[in-house]
Amino acid sequence: MTTWTNLMRAELRKLTSTRMPWAFLAVLVVISATTAAAVIFGTDMDGSKAFIATAADQQSLMAFAANALMGAGLFGAIAVAREYAHGTVVPTFLTSPRRQRAMLAQLAAVAVIGGALALVGAGLTITAVWLSLPTTEYGFMVAAGDVVRVLAASAFAGAAGAVLGAAIGALVRNTGGAVTGTVLVLIIAPPLIIQLASDAASWVPNTLATVLSGVGDEVTTLAAGLAIAAWALVPAAIALAAVQRRDVA
């Protein structure tokens, strides 16, 4: 019998049975290595290492939520758009002809994997900073609670980003278009929105991600969490509404 749990497990298996998660993991390793290199070799304009001089500076360097949002967004977009490109969405919809249920399982699965990848990315970045700081005159100053906050913010942003990307992938149904759409929504559109309405600056994804990571205070943490969720859930709701009505090629 096709239950929601069965669909969710199948979607998780889909996401972990190709090389894509490993490719994203490799990117995370590169990002963390780059962060470590920045700590070891990087300086401010005056030649000092002021950018890692305080706990707040170090937390800001480790704040991975914005990267998680973007990276997981691309992950979700590619994962779902390729379902349409390869036609693997056809057996999915044949198994679950009530397509919203299948798509909910798909969104939940990309949220889990996106969140997990983001958590790993944040962990690698924190580890990179922790391992590279001894090469400088500064020690690791970020409190344990703030480290946990950075990790949690990254996982949440990763899950939300993955859902956002997956929704765009389901709407666009083309890998290139889905990637472009995700970049458009997360990177290109926010500055344009701020140009039109400066008050919106506090509510664009990057700002919200810094608030969640504890390195920004434009809005409250709760508001930031809800707003990031809205950035993901609104396109997800549109995709859910569209998926049942459209023909599958």
Binding site: M1, A10, K14, T18, L94
Partner: protein, 252 residues
């Protein structure tokens, strides 16, 4: 087929499988096995492809190995599907369709890419399922293969139903008439509700009327008949007759 499977919306009406719309089937994977064009992620192994389908439908994993074995893919099961030949992809598609041991099979061009031995195995397998009381619905352009496989045939040309019935009836469903008044006979047949098209100078092929009806219609119209006989032939010949006739009817 996509309308039947709720993958595409119908322009009108509804398509049902056993009086039930596909979307309303309680357990579709166990009710209907489907094989359309190959739908695989090239980076995923054949085994994982089937495991995902089995997991989604709540089918025991042991069925995956059984199906891989039955279609002869056990040795290649852990290879990525992108490295499979067309025939191997077809066999994987067939394994996926049979995974839930459904009572209805819907297969689009199942013999495509198979070698002669594979085609024979497929044919025997499908005939065996039909003999057990299962329904096997196959779409194919290989009409010679259809003759080996099918009991009942539906012929669709450019989206329109051309002929429907048992294979044996369809193979004898047309009549061939030779007459010096070909154009008049075409008009008479059309007026009587039959479908006719010209062939070979003074020949006419008619379907939708039996020999008696044609003879009587010609007699009442005063049309001389030099030959009136059943038009038996291979499905391929009949298909070409039916579809070329449609073109001529449009032209007329």
């Amino acid at each position: 087929m996509k309308v039947l499977l709720d993958l595409a919306a119908a322009d009108g009406g509804t398509a049902r499988i056993g009086d039930t719309r596909y979307r309303d089937l309680a357990d579709p994977a166990r009710a209907v096995g489907v094989m359309l064009e190959p739908n695989f992620h090239p980076g995923r192994s054949g085994r994982d492809h089937l495991r995902i389908l089995a997991r989604a439908a709540g089918i025991p994993m042991v069925r995956v190995d059984e199906m891989l074995e039955s279609v002869g893919l056990a040795a290649a099961a852990d290879r990525r599907a992108g490295t499979y030949s067309l025939g191997m992809r077809q066999r994987l598609g067939l394994a996926a369709a049979l995974l839930g041991d459904p009572s209805v099979l819907v297969l689009d061009e199942p013999a495509n890419g198979l070698d002669p031995e594979g085609i024979r195995t497929l044919r025997n397998s499908l005939r065996g399922r039909a003999a057990q009381g299962h329904t096997v619905f196959v779409s194919s352009h290989l009409l010679a293969e259809v003759e080996h496989l099918a009991d009942d045939v539906i012929v669709i040309n450019k989206g329109r139903l051309v002929a429907q019935g048992s294979l044996a009836d369809l193979q004898h469903a047309a009549a061939f008439i030779r007459t010096p008044a070909r154009d008049r006979l075409l008009d008479v047949v059309a007026a009587a509700g039959g479908v006719a098209h010209a062939r070979d100078g003074d020949g006419v092929v008619v379907r939708g009327m039996d020999l008696d009806q044609i003879g009587e219609a010609a007699f009442h119209a005063g049309i001389p008949i030099h030959q009136l006989s059943s038009e038996a032939g291979s499905l391929e010949e009949l298909f070409l007759n039916w579809t070329s006739g449609d073109v001529e009817e449009v032209e007329r």
